[in-house]
């Protein structure tokens, strides 16, 4: 039997660069992370990727390509960052694809991290074989990607799925329903004590009324955003990813209550809503799927 092909995958975020080897079946063989040199900017990131890549490629056989998932807005054809927030300095304009292809002489493909999360869902997650999938990623902000019949819908300028900016009751959706907003709001009511997301949920489960209340509010607004998605796109499934997906057991009944209240009955019946199970490997897995799609296109 032929040896399985391996892919070197990177997931570049504002805080960490996760990387590892993923098989062509989407199994993660090894996984590591390093701090993102966010303050040193795009060039430093490229240098770090090259260094990591060299050691990974020598330790694993049959690495056939490099798959990158990254924060920021990506020109997928060119593999260039066309817009990025200040989380990573001077990231805009970084030519990830060109740089790494020239260095490693391997095929390289780059895609936005939120889109990668969506691709991971249709490949390895609950959205497998679903015809229309909206994938939400909750973190500092809220991102979304829409996959129709296996194809990412990028919109006219790689800008579709920016649900975080939707106006809900006059405010930005992500200022109301992101985990960052939750932590900020709880902390503001805690007399200067700053909690992490995990702590907010731990305390809620221990009965802290501030935490319980703010989580309820967050789910209330999340339900409104999800309703907007259902009305406009009527997708078969909506997946909710990001670190917060680990709290699914606690959150699902609350979210469901608000969605049921917000959505008209047929829309409620027709769309499945789940918290993602792909965890923090979603970026890497989705990037690999993206790379493999491109390779088979060029074969």
């Amino acid at each position: 039997m032929e040896m399985k092909k391996n892919i070197l995958a990177f997931d570049i975020g504002g805080t960490f660069i996760k990387y590892g080897i993923v098989t062509e079946d989407g199994l993660v063989l090894s996984k590591h992370q390093e701090k993102t040199p966010a303050q040193e900017g795009g060039t430093a990131i490229v240098q770090l990727l090259k260094k990591i890549g060299e050691s990974m490629i020598t330790s694993f056989d049959n690495v056939i390509g490099i798959a990158i998932s990254t924060a920021g807005q990506v020109d997928v054809e060119q593999g260039v960052i066309i817009y990025a927030s200040d989380a990573i300095k001077d990231y805009r304009g970084t030519e990830l694809k060109e740089e790494l292809m020239a260095h490693f002489k391997l095929p390289v493909e780059v895609e936005n991290d939120v889109n990668c999360a969506g691709l991971a869902e249709i490949w390895r997650g609950d959205a497998k074989e679903k015809a229309s999938v909206f994938s939400l990623t909750l973190g500092t902000g809220i991102g979304g990607s829409y996959i129709l019949n296996g194809v990412l819908q990028h919109g006219a300028n790689y800008r579709a799925g920016e649900v975080g900016y939707l106006k809900i009751d006059g405010q930005k959706f992500e200022d109301l329903a992101s985990p960052k907003a939750l932590v900020d709001k709880v902390s503001a009511r805690m007399n200067g004590e700053y909690l992490t997301g995990e702590e907010v949920f731990a305390r809620a489960q221990a009965g802290n009324s501030i935490c319980i209340e703010e989580i309820e509010k967050m789910m209330y607004y999340l339900a409104k955003g999800i309703s907007t998605i259902c009305y406009i796109l009527n997708p078969e499934i909506i997946t909710i990813g990001g670190g917060i997906a680990r709290q699914a057991t606690y959150l699902m009944p609350i979210l469901d209550k608000f969605i049921r209240n917000e959505l008209l009955e047929p829309f409620y019946q027709d769309t499945t809503i789940v918290f993602s199970q792909t965890n923090n490997e979603a970026g890497m897995i989705g990037a690999v799927y993206h790379l493999l799609s491109h390779l088979s296109e060029k074969e």
Binding site: G155, L166, S227, L233
Partner: protein, 536 residues
């Protein structure tokens, strides 16, 4: 050039006209009614109008209608009470049976959007969001000239978006604006028109200015949501604003820009719909043509043959595998198949798209159809008319089988493990094939021709054993008697052809057959039917 009789159905009005397959309206007539129409009335009016037309030159009936439509089966999934008793009406099926012409049905907002993307302002646009402002607010999303219908045919319903604790259309429709203006000016809503409001606005009427500005702000909110979610190449607004482009367009644009982050602004294009006459009649024809072209290609082999020069080596392996495993493919997941061929999942997805299928699921469906037809018929008839009659038959059966009525009978068969088939149909070869389908599931299948059955029915019929009745010949008294005997004794009777008794008791599924293809229809029906039975 083909010509269609196209209809536009709304609460109190039916518009119809002859439209060519290139979208030219040759004639059109409007009928106003003094009452809200009812589902049944709509069907009978369409039938009357069509019969009065010289129907020999018509290629089909195309319909744009209010309400939520399953555009594949042509069934009204939901209609508000603007049209009475309309929900659930099988428009396509009823009309096809009565008129013997192919029929396609589409929702009216979608039809308008399709017309705009076909010959209107959105021609040559890759992604379009069409928004209609009138009694409510509707929307429709078109990508690559095809409608994005959504998982359950309800995408684009921006009228329902949450807005200040209400639905957007409750405050942002033209009707809502008229109601507010009427109330504040102490006028009746019938006295308020769009031109009148525009005139008052331009003359500085403070109340109208305030309400109009609020309306424009709400539309700006809706537009912003669309841009953030979909970022379409173009947004087109139609409906009541259509004839007032000069007034509305700059205001909508300004309102959108005010709400949108600067980063998004440069790529947004907004337009008011073209003033095409009878947009819906044209859109209904466009829908017909799209439905026709997207009919699953039954002859999968010829499809592959045609695409062969474009396929890579790996893709040829996949094609080869499918052709040699027609029976297995419909049962496999994409990963299972990828494993078998030793390729990755995305390679399979890519392959599907290369042969113009939207997804792996669609591939499975096409393969299944190819497999069903291969068994009885030669691989290529070469006759598109015959082929489309098969495709039509399969589509109707697939829809019918979703009906809950079958669930009970299937459950019954699964438990009793026996099934009786009464028919005047005598092709032993087909009957044997159908019998095999049941035997494969471990079900005892007994077929009777009518006369025999009558004679022995007392002995053979057991109230518990589900019975299927299929009559080809014209309904006769003997058969009627037999059917009554069956019905008296057995609750689990399924009839596959039209009889008065069955109709009356709502027992019938009308197998959509023509005399040329009933063996195929029968076989396809039972193949799909037995698939649902549990084997022991």
């Amino acid at each position: 050039m083909r010509e269609f009789l196209s209809f536009s159905i709304s609460s109190r009005k039916i518009i119809f006209g002859i439209v060519t397959e290139t979208g030219s309206v040759i004639s059109s007539t409007e009928i106003d009614y003094d009452h809200r129409l009812e589902g049944k009335e709509i069907i009978s009016n369409i039938i009357d109008i069509t019969r009065k037309c010289n129907s020999t030159v018509l290629s089909g009936i195309t319909i744009s209608t209010a309400g939520q439509v399953d555009s594949n089966s042509g069934v009204i999934l939901y209609a508000s009470d603007h049209i009475l008793k309309y929900t659930g009406v099988k428009v396509k099926q009823l009309l096809e049976e009565a008129l013997d012409l192919p029929v396609e049905v589409q929702n009216d907002v979608n039809a308008s959007a399709l017309a705009e993307s076909w010959i209107g302002v959105a021609k040559d646009v890759q992604s379009l969001f069409y928004m209609s402002i009138g009694m409510g607010i509707g929307g429709s999303y078109i990508i690559d000239n095809k409608l994005h219908a959504g998982h359950s045919y309800s995408a684009g319903e921006i009228g329902y978006l949450p807005f200040d604790g209400q639905h957007l259309e409750d405050v942002g429709s033209m009707q809502a604006l008229k109601l507010r203006v009427a109330a504040r000016l102490s006028l009746s809503v019938e006295d308020i028109s769009v031109p009148m409001m525009i005139e008052k606005y331009n003359n500085g009427d403070a109340i109208v200015i305030e309400e109009m500005d609020y309306f424009i702000k709400i539309i700006g909110f809706a537009l912003t949501s669309i841009v953030y979610m979909l970022n379409p190449e173009l947004i087109v607004i139609g409906g009541d604003v259509k004839h007032h482009r000069a007034f509305f367009l700059p205001k909508f644009r300004a309102s959108l820009e005010q709400n949108l982050l600067p980063n998004f602004q440069k790529n947004v294009q907004l337009e008011i719909a073209d003033e095409i006459k009878q947009t819906r009649l044209i859109g209904a024809v466009r829908n017909y043509l799209l439905q026709e072209s997207s009919l699953p290609l039954r002859n999968f082999l010829s499809l592959l043959e045609q695409k062969k020069p474009m396929l890579t080596k790996t893709e040829l392996l996949i094609a080869h595998f499918i052709v040699n495993n027609l029976e297995r493919v419909p049962l496999m997941t994409i990963t299972e198949m990828a494993k078998q061929v030793n390729v990755s999942d995305p390679t399979v997805t890519r392959f599907c798209r290369k042969i113009d299928l939207a997804s792996y699921n669609e591939l499975k469906m096409v393969v299944k159809m190819a497999q069903a037809t291969e068994k009885i018929y030669e691989r290529s008839t070469g006759n598109t008319e015959i082929r489309s009659s098969y495709e039509h038959t399969m589509a109707s059966i697939d829809t019918e089988l979703k009906n809950h009525r079958f669930q009970k009978i299937i459950e019954e068969i699964s438990s009793v493990r026996t099934f009786y088939f009464f028919s005047d149909y005598t092709n032993q070869e087909t009957l044997l094939k159908i019998k095999t389908l049941f035997l494969k599931k471990g079900i005892l299948f007994q077929s009777f021709s009518m006369n025999e059955a009558i004679e022995y029915s007392d002995i053979t019929i057991n109230a518990k054993i589900p019975v299927c009745l299929f009559l080809i010949k014209k309904y006769d008294t003997q058969a009627k008697k037999q059917l009554n005997v069956l019905l008296e004794q057995n609750p689990n009777v399924l009839t596959l052809s039209e009889t008065d008794v069955a109709k009356e008791k709502d027992l019938a599924l009308f197998l959509p057959t023509t005399s040329a293809n009933h063996e195929f229809a029968l076989y396809y029906f039972f193949e799909s039917f037995t698939e649902k039975i549990n084997s022991k």
